[in-house]
Symmetry: C2
Subunit: 354 residues, 2 copies
DNA sequence: ATAAATAGTGTACGCGCGTACATTTTTATG
DNA sequence: CATAAAAATGTACGCGCGTACACTATTTAT
């Protein structure tokens, strides 16, 4: 049952016009709902279009309108060893997609190259996109240079879950300072006083925010910030696992630890376990992100939920409004996080080892 | 430092031609490497293009070439409660992306509507895409109808990780029959004889393949296939959790269970644990997919690794070759899976049930 | 030397649609 | 009924690029 490619020739506006007995312009007017059209004419045109199975050629429309009608979304290069949870990006992406579809726009997925920087202005200059949403940006010289260039070119774009101190790029963030502060406050409320911190690389504003939240919580409680109790990983599970040895070495000074994300927290828990230190019993652990695995690990991980989906949606909403209004308004939004308490951090919880 | 939108006017081929002192056609020839061009002319043109910062307008190119240069990727509607691991799609998507970027094409992300079917021919008819890769397809009447329509229209497309018995749609799959057989064989080798099966919905060919693998393994070992020991979930963790009560009710007849994916396996393990049945001790468990969480759950889950990334890449390779060759060749590839043995299924790890 | 092949370049047009402007038809107004 | 205003429709053109074809300059074959 090999199909005849009916691909060959598309039906065009001209044919619809002929069949309806009107001019091409009238067909356009009817289909775009622009200008006054007599009701009977409208019906004739719609009828003809329907009979011919006419669908406007999107490429020609974009060409004539000088608008691509699509929004680019940049994904960072993610090597085989995933630095971020795929969860993170999937959630944001689905939020963006939901909004874009709702507005009848297209989503062009752009992948950052493995090596070197990406020229963010290029997809604009080639006319492929009308707006850009950048995920997984980092504070690095090359990256920053590209962002500044993009900013100066005046094309509408925004960052998600990253900001650059000293620069006013448009962006949607979550309030990670507050999220982290609440996480650490929770530990303090549980009675822990010697709270360590496993952070991620400083090139992510997330890390700086987490540190600030950690600092604030300690300060409020009158607890000292001990730099020896601040460790650094790279947000991967493995790095959390590796950090376990450092943490274990100072375990006599530590009764709780706040990890900057769940993946590290889970790796840490495993690493500590192998050294005889039981999370939720010998040490309290709090993570961040509320990924799927947080509820299935042992013990279930207390963490901070981040509204990634909503963040993606808001980013898309902003970009779409910029595109349609044409106005060049600055925005920077922080959405709220939510502490999710599970067994890894609660004192009463300690029970089973095995 | 508000930017002047340099967006206003793009530089065009015409300007490059003038500056280089040649015709527009020659500019085109140089930039597209087509036809003979004198070396000195080539340099003049490239120089002029560089000086003007000229970039061809992609939309105009597509319009003139009557090719969109982009490949569509359909994602199923994923409601708040994710039916599949996001892992699954992220991996496939990154494989597709890798290949598409390599070939200088674009990736248009298409989201299936929440309700009703999607007309897969539409993005072709509007000229938005040249080929389509469909993820998360299911064997349902409406879906099948759309696929048949698409097939008959002759546009190049393929499915990933799904096939329809009786239809020869192009597709990239993994050998789930074999993967499942090996998983169950592994359990048999460990000495288990009463092996239950927690499957997913039959609208996924994955489920049928898993069942067949399960059947084959039992048959080879001369073990009976007991329909009472076959349970059904919907691939979500929650459904695995719920299945635990059914499994627990028959626990005296079961010493191992093969779950059709990791999410269900993990939910099942939790549910059983709450009923006093310990995975890896009282019951052996094997999952499928090798998601991130499989290595961090307790006990670490024996599972079957599926090369999702590679599958995406192969799908993209096929579609690109179809696009460029124009030939309409049929393909259906099955990639190999790999059994990953962890603690949830090995006898030494545990004590003994009854 | 001349003809024929080839390299190099320019001219002209179409891709399908949006839309400014011109023109015709209808309606409102007195 | 005449006329101005408004509504409805048609004509014409441009969006930026690819490319068929025509044409000229150069090389090769005879």
């Amino acid at each position: 049952m090999r199909a005849l490619r009916e691909v060959e020739r598309i039906t065009t506006r001209k044919q619809v016009a002929e069949r309806a007995g009107v001019s091409e312009a009238t067909v356009s007017r009817v289909l775009n709902n622009v200008g006054p059209v007599k009701e009977s004419t409208r019906r004739k045109v719609l009828q003809a279009a329907k009979e011919l199975g006419y669908v406007p050629n999107a490429i020609a429309q974009r060409f004539a309108r000088r608008k691509s009608g699509s929004i680019g979304v940049v994904l960072p290069f993610v090597p085989k060893v995933r630095m971020f949870s795929t969860f993170y990006f999937s959630e944001i992406l689905s939020g963006i997609g939901e909004e874009i579809v709702r507005k009848g726009l297209d989503l062009l997925l752009l992948f950052k190259p493995a090596d070197g920087e990406m020229d963010y202005t290029m997809p604009f200059r080639t006319g492929k996109i009308d707006a850009l949403i950048i995920l997984g940006s980092r504070n690095r010289p090359g990256e920053l240079r590209e962002l500044i260039k993009l900013q100066q070119s005046g094309y509408p774009f925004c960052l998600v879950n990253q900001h650059f101190p000293g620069y006013s790029f448009n962006g949607i963030d979550a309030d990670h300072v507050r999220g982290s502060r609440e996480a650490v406050q929770h530990l303090i409320e549980q009675g822990y006083k010697r709270i360590a911190f496993l952070n991620g690389p400083v090139e992510y504003s997330n890390s700086l925010d987490r540190l600030e939240g950690y600092r604030q919580a300690l300060e409020e409680a009158g607890l000292p910030l001990v730099s020896d109790l601040i460790f650094e990983g790279n947000y991967s599970r493995t790095s959390g696992y590796r950090a376990a040895s450092d943490v274990a070495a100072k375990i006599s000074d530590i009764d709780a630890i706040f990890a900057a994300n769940d993946r590290m927290a889970i790796g840490l828990i495993q690493g500590l376990y192998e050294r005889g230190i039981r999370a939720g019993v010998d040490i309290a652990v709090v993570g961040y992100d509320n990924i799927d695995a947080a509820v299935v690990c042992e013990p279930p991980l207390t963490t901070v939920h981040v509204p990634f989906h909503e963040m993606g949606k808001r980013a898309a909403e902003w970009m779409i409004s910029q595109m349609t209004s044409g106005a060049e308004v600055h925005f920077y939004e922080k959405l709220e996080t939510e502490l999710i308490v599970r067994r890894s951090s609660i004192k009463e919880g300690g029970v089973t080892s095995q």
